[in-house]
Symmetry: C2
Subunit: 421 residues, 2 copies
């Protein structure tokens, strides 16, 4: 927990300047003509989105829309200027610092915004793009920032198996628990695993997939992760469940993967690799995957076309992240090594639903989270989960599952029927 | 038929220099040390391929391999030099001109060669790459070259429905006829067509898909094609089968498609578009596809990574063709317009089997073909079909079916189960 708390200091860089909480009385004076001019500019920027913007003294340029999704109250001038300067960071930090508040449907508002606005750009975006991913030391810091917040925190709102990636809702009434188990099976079936085979996993979270594959598919797994807390948890679980002889968890970077495997799988790691290191990941897969019958699966959040990253997410949630288009992932990782793309599936609606489940559980645990981490932390995570759900709901974000194989692999099944029996 | 015969003159540019037919006595003198040196260089180039190379006077540097796939007899010095200069064109033209012959398993030999040799390069390849696709007039000539050989010719070896693209063998014992019908249904299901919708098809061949969709899925179809003979056939069929009010066949280039549609489909046309015109195709799709619920499917032969084209295929089979990697197709056509990739399936083994069916039927009709078009024509088409089968069998060629949709389309089914019921 100490680690997590030290983390929070970096995590919230403007803590010292936090003026007030949501709901506190605004400190600013009455709105001037400059404030009204700024508000008008903001109104133009969100034209078409059924939202009402209201300043600290009640100033609003429009009445409530016919079917408003939400009202955004801007509590001081700094929040107003920040929104104009960089809508993404300004909204995120304004929200978490309580300089603006949202009354109504937060997910609905973010979905509408994300549907109607082009991918957000900001003055510092271009510079940040170059810093995605990172060498091992930076990658370790980036992972630490998010995944080492404390296993207890994630237990509050993830499923029992601690799967922190998109679930697969095979039937419309599936629970999150069922959908995460279905996802693990789906990945295994796409890989066409056979008993006795050896699987490498890059970025294994709390180990759910590795343990599932060993338990149900008779394979041995070696799984890599840079998060000390996750690896510790995964090893404990493997020991407790009697799988330690078949699943090995390694606390190290994907670039240091060595040995050979029949199947290579990575679920939710490519987002952290960064474009500059796609070639390195491709090299690792090529070096380790069996030349004759090797096949693999990459599961990652992507985009329809390259887009600027969110400065707020980069600063507060996933430092160094980058979400590639399917083309960028193929170009960077698989094509240079001549891998054959066998199957691509876009599970976008499944991630919107997964995030809705997480957010609902998170809200139920919000008092506990706030008690441990403070109000600002709760608002940060609420906004991140709501924003991600909105991104998938609106189509700004995609979830690609890419199955690939060696060029000349003939042993794969001819049709996909078996995936659905 | 006259058109087809005129075509053949351009089709076989070195007809005037054709020295002898396969099986004719070699005109060349005894092999010299230079010939042996050339033969040794060739042997090195095909090291590992279980083939025996024999010169016109019986000279061979190696005994028969343990399990030979074939013996290649090189009947004269010109064929030998041509093989060394440009293996792809040299082999193709040597084979069709009867300057070399293959005893044994032609498909097996080509599969082994394609498995073990890198994509063939030739001195003139770089220049040719730039000439792929073409403006409308060139595109029309390119299409005319191949598809206007006469409908009677293609009837000799295609299925009853005249489908000249990869079939879908839903079960291992399916006939070609069943597999082609299954493919048409598969495409329709991937597009999630609803009765009353409007479908555009770019490059419709003899119209089988368009007619199938109108008949079985209650949609109206407008289909474009540059081949006059194919369009004539398709229109006749639509009239005969009472579908002329629901399917319109337009003899024109894909760049001139106008109007709006709910679904856009193109099966086996992208190969002829050429990289330079991918953006134009993307623009056409974007311009015509319904903004709210539009979706589409591109079905095309591709590669795992960009590779040089076969000079022989470019010269004799598909002038101006280009087979993109999946990445190139996404980068050129779909990503610039922000389309969302929903599903990609690689049907490579299905195309190897489709080609095996075609080749078998072609061989049964070979005497008829030779009677109409001559021995060289028969050898050209045999080599093309065998080489394509080998390309898919070896993994040098892929068959991608890419389903895509507008960014924000939410109406699509969540899982792929329904495709397999």
């Amino acid at each position: 927990m100490l680690t997590a708390k030290r983390n929070l200091v970096r995590f919230l860089p403007s803590a010292r300047s936090m003026a007030h909480d949501a709901g506190a009385a605004p400190a600013a004076s009455r709105a001037t003509w400059v404030d009204r001019w700024c508000l008008a500019a903001l109104e133009r920027a969100v034209a078409g989105v059924p939202v009402r913007l209201v300043l600290w003294d009640g100033t609003a340029l429009t009445g409530p829309p016919a079917a408003p999704v939400a009202t955004v109250r801007i509590h001081d001038r700094r929040a107003l200027l920040a929104l104009l300067w960089d809508a993404d960071v300004g909204f995120g930090e304004g929200y978490t610092e309580g300089r603006l508040s949202v009354e109504g449907d937060l997910v609905g508002l973010l979905t509408e915004l994300s549907r109607r606005l082009p991918a957000v750009s900001s003055p510092s975006a271009a510079r940040r793009e170059r810093r995605t991913g990172g060498r091992v030391a930076r990658a370790r810091r980036n992972v630490h920032h998010h995944y080492d917040l404390g296993n207890d925190f994630f237990r509050l709102w993830l499923d029992d198996d601690m799967v922190y990636t998109c679930a697969y809702f095979a039937s419309p009434d599936a629970t999150l628990e069922q959908a995460q188990q279905a996802k693990l099976d789906y990945v295994a079936r796409k890989l066409e695993l056979r008993p006795g085979e050896r699987v490498f996993e890059a970025g294994c979270g709390w180990g759910a997939l590795a343990l599932h594959l060993a338990r149900h598919y008779g394979v041995t797994v070696r799984a890599w992760n840079l998060s000390g807390q996750q690896i510790h948890w995964a090893r404990e679980r493997a020991r407790r469940e009697g799988l330690a002889d078949r699943v090995e968890f390694v606390e190290d970077d994907y670039r240091r993967i060595s040995g050979t495997c029949d199947a290579f799988v990575s679920v939710g790691m490519l987002e952290h690799v960064g474009r500059r290191y796609y070639a390195a990941l491709g090299e690792v897969i090529d070096r380790t995957l069996d030349r004759a019958h090797g096949r693999g699966l990459l599961h990652f959040i992507g985009r329809n076309a390259p887009a600027r990253r969110s400065g707020w997410i980069d600063r507060h949630i996933f430092p160094g992240y980058y979400l590639p288009s399917l083309r960028e992932a193929l170009e960077g990782v698989l094509e240079p090594r001549g891998f054959s793309v066998v199957d691509v599936e876009n599970l976008r609606p499944h991630y919107a639903r997964t995030l809705a489940c997480w957010l609902e559980r998170f809200e139920r645990a919000a008092a506990v989270v706030t008690g441990q981490f403070g109000e600002r932390f709760t608002r940060t995570w609420r906004l991140y989960l709501a924003g991600a759900q909105a991104g998938f709901a609106s189509g700004q974000l995609q979830l690609f599952q890419v199955t690939f194989a060696r060029t000349q692999l003939d042993g794969l099944r001819w049709t996909r029927d078996a995936l659905y029996r």
